[in-house]
Subunit: 353 residues, 2 copies
């Protein structure tokens, strides 16, 4: 793998950024998390005037063989149907993307369907990066070939490069696919997290289905014995194409110094794997929100990330990530546009800094 | 007073709103707080397609005689200087207002200065509603005359009427003025809240100043003995012009069915008084954020409001309220723009509702 050379965010501009923030017409530190966001974006972009003008959302969609074990509230066809819904602009992510002026692209990361044969009216928002037509059922066999795991990560890298080429300032990563929280939970447990902290409902399912979901995850890990320190081995045995591609996009975006906003639990499980491969990625990540899925907070804590929003959401698609962009833009606009005490002729106080 | 006839929000459209929400292409309840916001705005506007297109911020500015007791980190001139800064577009509220496409108006609710004599380049964003040039020092005498308290509330009502006339869909209420958290804390303690839960720093001050602030508040209440059940009496004795005007704007906006987004601690202290006068206002209020000022969460809890944002902010001016508008707009756009399972041809699941 070629991810050992990601430079950390670094802090060579930090004192300059702090000094500028404290010159703005507001009590010192009074914008709380916005000040932290502004500083980190400044460090990433290496400027005291950071800007996240061009915003893109990648919604990763794929199918999961594990849905054969009846772990979800919805039939697997919904993955394909929701891709169409997103392409038509009717999903939640489209509504929030429009509001945030963020471009929403759907990545076919392995849906069990060939959209090219559908004669869709508009495929300009569909990016095809297919390592296969859904993974295999990890209750019976490894989810994918090692080759596919590596190919998926490479696809993710290509998506980060595409974003860089298009001058994207910030990427939101979202996930959609029936069965995705089952796979994400399997990945996290395989990576060493405690099952009780991690395994939960995604969409609302009954007790019986949740028990089955739990058993399927634990049995799958017992069967394949993934190496808890090896992201590729975990992905191959109990992972998903989406999670693998998201792992790749996070790694490559960090190496290209593009800030990445995480959405919910499946996305953050990919960040856990990316962090396993190279912990320097952490400085480029923002936690868009804390989802209502139990394990999400545990993963964010492991990555030392504080969620920007806490709205009790559990939808996915990147919805929590894209909503957080407004706060991040407020932070960058604040540092770029606010008057200073000097420029506005406002008296300084005797604040305790 | 003429506030006894505020109709409650009511819930006659509630089941219809819930039914529509559950028909949209997302797992049931998966948008958490956004669904609650959409429902409440639908009930307020009496439609299943609520809209908060036209957004206005009133930033109430006034001076407080209590600053003579040396309770603030900044000199009192900063109130006037910050009004100028807001009129020039350089304050945090201007930056966030532009981002949210919200109009920002500064209300001179009693700054100790005559802005008309300043030959300001642009006063189109200044609304003059002056019951006086700053309140008196409540450490020595009542903060204002009863007549001024009533006049201030009436001014607030006029501002709500002006918003209705201008077809404003949602109002954000912000406050700015050196000494405002001291006055707001005095109002809350006078209204029966525990001093230890309420009295805190606003901008960062040292231990000695905080102790003085506490003593000034408690001594003022001991001196004037405001009636804890009488909002006018509290305002007159230890209140401020801003808080009185905000009390009025909240009452009148509720009677005109205009949703009001609260900002931080001083604004919420006005909501406490408005609630004392007529508790039917509560259904029209949204808590924009939870500020870092200690007592804010206590007041929100008393009003049974859940803050939309929690960003460790403590700036005021309406900044926390205006940032929350994006989430509220996302909620209304969601309910107006999302496809339904039927319209998008997405299969229904067997979710546990």
């Amino acid at each position: 793998m070629h991810f050992y050379n990601i430079a950390p965010v670094g802090d060579n501009l930090k004192s300059e950024l702090e000094k500028h923030l404290n010159s703005l017409t507001k009590p010192v530190g009074s914008l709380g998390m916005l000040e932290e966001i502004a500083i980190r974006l400044g460090l990433i972009q290496q400027t005291i005037k950071p800007n996240i003008n061009k915003k893109r959302v990648y919604v990763f969609a794929s199918d999961h063989g594990i849905t054969q074990e009846n772990v979800s509230a919805y039939p697997k066809e919904v993955t394909r149907e929701m891709v169409n819904n997103i392409l038509m602009g009717g999903a939640a992510i489209n509504v929030f993307g429009r509001l945030a002026s963020a471009e929403v692209l759907v990545v076919d990361a392995g849906v069990d369907h060939d959209f090219n044969k559908d004669n869709l009216p508009d495929t300009s928002k569909l990016v095809t990066k297919k390592p296969g037509f859904g993974t295999r059922n990890f209750a019976k066999e490894p989810a994918m070939a090692e080759k596919q795991a590596i190919e998926s990560i490479e696809f993710g890298c290509e998506l980060a490069e595409m974003a860089a080429k298009d001058n994207v300032d910030v990427l939101v990563i979202g996930d959609m696919g029936i069965g995705n929280t089952t796979v994400a939970a399997a990945v996290c447990v395989a990576a060493g997290f405690q099952p009780d902290e991690i395994i939960d409902i995604g969409t609302v399912i009954d007790e019986e289905t949740l028990k089955r979901k739990r058993r399927v995850i634990l049995d799958g890990i017992k069967l394949h014995k993934p190496n808890s320190k090896n992201a590729i081995d975990i992905l191959q045995k109990v992972g998903g194409f989406c999670i693998a591609e998201m792992t790749g996009v996070i790694l490559k975006a960090a190496s290209l110094r593009i800030p990445v906003v995480l959405d919910g639990f499946p996305v953050t499980s990919a960040a856990i794997l990316a962090n396993m491969i190279n912990p320097n990625i952490k400085g480029f990540l923002f936690a868009g929100h804390l989802s209502k899925v139990k394990g999400h907070g545990v993963l964010l804590k492991a990555l030392n990330l504080t969620p920007i929003l806490k709205l009790d959401m559990r939808l996915g698609e990147g919805t929590g990530g894209v909503l957080a962009l407004h706060v991040m833009e407020a932070a960058t606009n604040m540092i770029r546009e606010m008057a200073t005490f000097e420029s506005a002729g406002v008296s300084k106080g005797n604040e305790v800094v």
